[in-house]
């Protein structure tokens, strides 16, 4: 059933303090799907993305991309298959480089096509992301945040990748522009048969774009499954609390918020057992003692909680 990107990483050691930024995470991403990674700041979602991209080395476990370990891929070959879109379109584009040259850079590095072919490809990419051909000769400062993010999308598409990791791609944008970019990403996915790993702290955005969703907390996956399932019937108490905090643009719909006690513990010194137990309204004596592993509770849904 198509290609699988298998991720089994653990114990990401950063410098001398062993911070488990990502801890014992196992998940797969199938070809053509969008996997949403959600969680609050410090939950390890961006670190996980960097590990997948091979930008961060992992301390244990392995990440398999198209039947081959990411660390075994020659870097240049991997970059052709995997690309990334970053949150801030102001700092991710070189202000001294023209838009056309930014988009063409990957083609140049990989010596793809003749000069004329590359130029034609840039024009094609500009069109694909809804920019005009003449935009290629301008500089990033002449563009709005939304247009810059379109440039970033065009750049990732230049090498015709299979997987695109999107790290908070719409968080810095205004609402009306955010909707334009989300729509663009969806259209491109169907047209080019792309696979996305989509990271966001905004659950409404993720529920809109992701097929499957993984909820992370302190470096671990708490719950993973089809988005429709998870957003309709969250099983993990953390997912429940997270969803209850989401505000809907409808003053008549007021959900009862499940309050979380305390603050996010430091990842330097995570709680024993289930990392969520000190803040969990449903914790019982087993939770601080043993760590629950992900367990399948419904078809395709896995939850790491002793309640199941």
């Amino acid at each position: 059933m198509g290609k699988h990107y298998k991720v089994t990483s653990g114990l990401l050691g950063l410098k001398t303090d062993a911070v488990r930024a990502v801890d014992g995470v196992s998940l797969t991403v199938s070809k053509g799907e969008t996997l949403g990674l959600v969680g609050e700041s410090g939950c390890g979602k961006s670190t996980l993305a960097k590990c997948v991209m091979g930008l961060e080395s992992i301390s244990s476990g392995r990440i398999v991309f198209q039947d081959r370990d990411v660390s075994d891929w020659p870097e240049k070959a991997l970059r052709r298959k995997m690309q990334m879109i970053f949150q801030d379109p102001y700092s991710s584009l070189n202000p001294r480089q023209k838009i056309g040259s930014i988009i063409r850079e990957g083609l140049d590095i990989h010596s793809i096509g003749t000069r004329a072919e590359r130029r034609a490809r840039v024009q094609e990419l500009l069109g694909l992301v809804g920019l005009r051909p003449e935009h290629g000769t301008r500089y990033p400062h002449e563009f709005s945040g939304g247009q810059r993010q379109r440039v970033a999308v065009a750049r990732t598409l230049a090498l015709d990748p299979d997987l695109i990791v999107c790290d908070e791609p719409v968080s810095a944008l205004d609402v009306s522009v955010q909707a334009q970019i989300l729509r663009l990403l969806k259209t491109l996915q169907t047209r080019l048969d792309l696979t996305y790993v989509f990271i966001s702290h905004d659950l409404s955005v993720v529920s809109h774009i992701a097929d499957r969703v993984a909820v992370m907390y302190l470096g671990r996956i708490m719950e993973i499954g089809p988005g429709a399932d998870i957003f309709a019937t969250p099983r993990h108490p953390y997912t429940e609390a997270l969803l209850s905090a989401v505000l809907t643009p409808d003053p008549t719909r007021r959900t009862e918020r499940i309050p979380l006690s305390g603050e996010l513990p430091s990842p330097m010194n995570p709680p024993s057992g289930c990392p969520f137990h000190p803040r969990c309204p449903k914790a019982f004596e087993r939770c601080p003692q043993e760590r629950p592993e992900l367990r399948e509770t419904a078809p395709g849904v896995q939850v790491a909680c002793w309640l199941y």
């Binding site: 609402v175 009306s176 659950l203 409404s204 529920s207 505000l247 809907t248 409808d250 918020r257 996010l264």
Partner: protein, 320 residues
Amino acid sequence: MSDTLLDIRGLTTRFSSPQGIAKAVDTVSLSLMQGETLAVVGESGCGKTVLALSILGLVPDPPGRVTDGSILYQGHDLLAMDESELRRIRGNQISMVFQEPMTALNPVFRIDDQIAEPLRLHQGLDRRAALAGAVDALALVGIPNPVKVARAYPHELSGGMRQRVMIAMALACNPAILIADEPTTALDVTVQAQILDLMNELKARMNGSLMLITHDLGVVARMAQRVAVMYAGKVVELCEVGPLFAEPLHPYTRGLLASVPVLGDRSELNPIPGIVPGIFDLPEGCRFRPRCKDAFDRCTTLPPLLEAGSGRRVRCWLHQ
């Protein structure tokens, strides 16, 4: 609910730059009632933050200047006051919470010294009493172990805690009006929910008024009684919160609502085409015209804020 606490009339704030002079806030008239929460909503560059800064006399000059209008607070025009008079009101009767607590707090002073400052300045408390007041203020905003946190430096606190400190500081002198500019935008959802609940609770307890500046329609729906939608320096719709979400009148408001993804709803989004115009090259007539699918020939003339029944106002020729 019926007493007008703050009455803004025809407020215009101009910014000058090499490209010319632009009106970041263009003849805005709004009122804030006793005990209400008014949300000012709009996208970046619509002038909502400049509006807040204009009220408090904090517009950076140069390049900005309030050039027209009046802001009546308890019958006195804030714009006619000199700096020393304004200082007696700012942080005391009208105070502000900013978006980014880390840049709004001074990194080299302890938390209690920072909260004590307005207490000493406005209420004439001595150092000891002001520091005690700071601890009380921290307890009020639900900070666990306020005595310990009072002696901490900003970098030792999490984002949510810092925002609580900002609120404690803003509320230390029991202001009548709190202006909050994107108070939860930098925070995680669960923390955002806590801070919004806290603001509602404190507002009710102090019977104060809240002017909430935000781009987040979810926050508006949760918090506001009345809403002013701004676009390119102008108020385009002014309405109670229920009807605004149930039946938005201005095409821009409708477009905004159709752009927001709703949790659990995967139906297609209908974004507004194009981008917000820069304040230095505004279109002629209605400023939303180039992006509006309902625009017609009349829209080349700027519509006034038209009455649309039951206190509703909308700046659109479709609703004449």
